[in-house]
Symmetry: C2
């Protein structure tokens, strides 16, 4: 009982501190806010989390988190199936969707190749992407990966494999409006829209 708050509240604070961006102090403040705003915050957030835990799954086609499988994007006939935008994580997909400049489909890799962190091709959602590309009908693969070493290594790896499997597919990259080292989720929407329009 380091905080004197009792084991239940301690446990709540310890788990909140595992959220990205929350240290021990902000986790304590978050716990207090939850306990003080029981009806407005704690109960609705608990319900939303329970709902998410029970219903959110990964789309078997693109890998996106969704309560439906296939997800809304993969199931939407109005979305251009000839274009697939490849992203690292759902947060990048969400960022692209907020911008609204892209009307194709997605593929969420679930990470990036990294020798340092030991992330290998088989650790990513790559075989599914190669199947989609090989199945035909895809004209363009838009690489919306971060301008980091890992992002560019992953993009090159995918480009090489696609060249062998389906050389007719054009591979484009978001233009260098994405700052070096920058993650897509942290960019303003205008930068993303511009980078998409001037993809190369």
């Amino acid at each position: 009982m380091a905080s004197g708050a009792g084991p239940e509240i301690e446990r709540l604070m310890a788990l909140l501190s595992k959220l990205p961006g929350l240290g021990p102090r902000s986790a304590r403040r978050a716990a207090l806010a939850l306990l003080k705003k029981r009806e407005q915050l704690l109960i609705p957030l608990t319900a939303a989390m329970q709902d998410a835990a029970e219903r959110v799954t990964s789309c078997h086609i693109c890998g996106a988190l969704s309560t439906r499988d296939p997800c809304a994007t993969c199931a939407d006939p109005a979305r251009d199936a000839a274009m697939i935008c490849v992203v690292e994580e759902d947060s990048a997909l969400w960022a692209m969707e907020r911008v609204g400049a892209f009307s194709g489909r997605y593929h969420v890799l679930g990470g990036l190749l990294s020798a340092l962190d030991g992330v290998r091709p088989e650790d990513l959602r790559l075989s599914g992407l190669m199947q989609r590309v090989s199945a035909g009908g895809v004209e363009e693969l838009v690489m919306a990966l971060p301008a980091t070493v890992e992002g560019q290594t992953t993009a090159h790896y995918i480009a090489d494999r696609v060249k062998q499997l389906a050389p007719e597919v054009t591979i484009t990259h978001l233009a260098r409006g994405v700052p070096v080292g920058g993650e897509l989720d942290w960019l303003d929407d205008g930068t993303i829209a511009h980078a998409f329009k001037s993809r190369r």
Copy 2:
């Protein structure tokens, strides 16, 4: 669907962004972390929140958040009932307990008097404090309130009422080791311990 994440995930992000310290971007990152770490984070945190929603209440004596009523501090015969430490919120109580320099009881006001925000004496847990003081047995009231205008106004108001109701009670204040404008929860433990020992 501003983010393209679907209504369930949107709702999760919207509620997370209401936590102190989380803006829309960090709420999206928190939502993604929860959904990706389903077993390690989402499910245990949901359980901890549900447990808190069902079991955490306010102690009818001191007002502290607790799963027991009276709380562990009020129920502990080893804690000195002659000393009551008056705090604004549970976070300050938790900070005092982490330090471990105080072995008395607490009283959680649940806020501070504020003409600006329209917080009046009847909005705080003040009548309970006056009852505890009038009942006898209290020798010292330690004001552990922030060194802000509201904190000092509240401390003066309490001191005035206690002087009338129970003039034998000594009122002390945490020493000015607490930085002006500083909230107790954000201080390092050493500062709090020092301020407590040199209370005046």
